[in-house]
Symmetry: C2
Amino acid sequence: MMNNMSTEELDDIYTFAVDLGKQAGKMLMEAAQLRISGSCPAPERDHVQKENAVDLVTETDENVEAFIRSQIANKYPSHKFVGEESYSKGSSREYLIDASPTWCVDPLDGTVSYIHLFPMFCVSIAFIHNHKPLIGIIYAPFSNHFFSSCAGRGAFFNETQRLPLVRNPIPPMPENAPSGCIFSCEWGKDRRDTPDGNLTRKIESFVNMAAEVGGRSGRGGMVHGVRSLGSATLDLAYVAMGAFDIWWEGGCWEWDVAAGIAILSEAGGLVTTANPPEDYAHAPIEDVRLGSRLYLAIRPAGTSPTETGREGQERTVREVWRRVRNLDYSRPGA
Amino acid sequence: MMNNMSTEELDDIYTFAVDLGKQAGKMLMEAAQLRISGSCPAPERDHVQKENAVDLVTETDENVEAFIRSQIANKYPSHKFVGEESYSKGSSREYLIDASPTWCVDPLDGTVSYIHLFPMFCVSIAFIHNHKPLIGIIYAPFSNHFFSSCAGRGAFFNETQRLPLVRNPIPPMPENAPSGCIFSCEWGKDRRDTPDGNLTRKIESFVNMAAEVGGRSGRGGMVHGVRSLGSATLDLAYVAMGAFDIWWEGGCWEWDVAAGIAILSEAGGLVTTANPPEDYAHAPIEDVRLGSRLYLAIRPAGTSPTETGREGQERTVREVWRRVRNLDYSRPGA
């Protein structure tokens, strides 16, 4: 097992990962085109007739994961692999990533969007070593949005434009954040109508962020806009781009966020926990734990006349924490 | 003034509108690239330094509208023009569209997204005659999504793929709609924290649509996903595509929806009012009034063994009406 990785090794892995992401995205798009043209060969043709194309999509999901996994096994037989599909089939929900070189892959994020052929779906590939996501690849082939990063080499949109997009200079966080910010959030799958359950807590948090300043007993954040795309991975990519200022979410797994965290970190963003500590105004702002299932991301920020970029990000974290509720997501052994 | 329009005339106008949309989208993207590169010439350069690029965007918005308006005036001097920017500057909020040939234009929809350079912004151009939106053009240049339609000639994605995308056959509405549906909705600008105000009513409606079946006193709709893009125009385009099943919104103006309604209608969708009639289970489902500011759109639907596409759409309209609140948007003279 490698403890340190040379520049050449990492470069080699990055080149491989970029190519792998492109091929996997192409597979997703080809399968989508088959559904569009209605020309799937039997037996898949039957699936197309169904009300929604869930089974066909599951098949694509598994095929793409198997492809990615075998490509990695061929090229880097000593590396570990954690994939959404293979993980889901196991019985354990424990966090399996240790210090060894590990690939953490979601072959298809935004599955619901993919089923309905809404363009916000993607493949997500991260390479992690010593617990740090070093390489991130996110490819949304329908819109041809390709995000990539490698630790120390920068984060990029479509391989040519550095992230964040606006960087001459990088805008500071708005003075009255979350006012002036685009807030990205997801409704997720847990829709149980339980008193004070996750759905209720999420909605209360969303409304606090959105309501006029002064509203909601002083919690109103009057964000500039609220967006929900249905893909944690793409949410993080657009935070790295600088398009979304704040992303707050609970319930994802490591393959939903590893590539996005790699890209956002390399672009200069901050990722910490979604759940506000008791002393939210003063508690230390710690780096997110990849397996925590609770995420708050802030975009890359430049300095202003009164604070550094990091200070602006931390101020924004505390303003979000002041407005959101604790979410209840856990996992075995965590 | 023309009372009837020949096929040749309409073809000519369509060709002109497609080209106009492409040019306008290119202008939006070029202005975005200037902000990205930080290479705006003075005096715009000052704007770039600002926390958000609101002034610069307003300038782009006005420039693009002026361009569209002058191109139309040159080619069709007898046609009327209703544009978002010129309308906003006037004092009247009355509905100005009559039976004459009229262009209804939003040079930039998704303004907040454009300010933050989130890709979901677009130009939206509709041609209306005898109160009917006959031609619609929507172009989101960042993702290169181009939607167009002409009455009787079909609706298209990127000029080659007919809408809805899946059409062999077009899927019927899900049996238990809104379950199985992607629900598109927007938080909008009215964030007043008023008891039973629009924000409260919207959120209550969103939560009803999202919550588990059986939840919310039997109103839970358990939609498959909830999406918010920040652009009414693009929401309608994705409904026409078949990607979104339901879009429900209040507060837009005619330039936000005219092109989307043209494209969606031509693709086979249904558009009616957002506000449920008292007898929502039996009231006639009327075509939307363009200036009503209240919109409920359902995607194109195919027949199932038990109902026609239209029947499935109407069933879905009633299921939405059962779960949503009346919104309070009005206008002078309406």
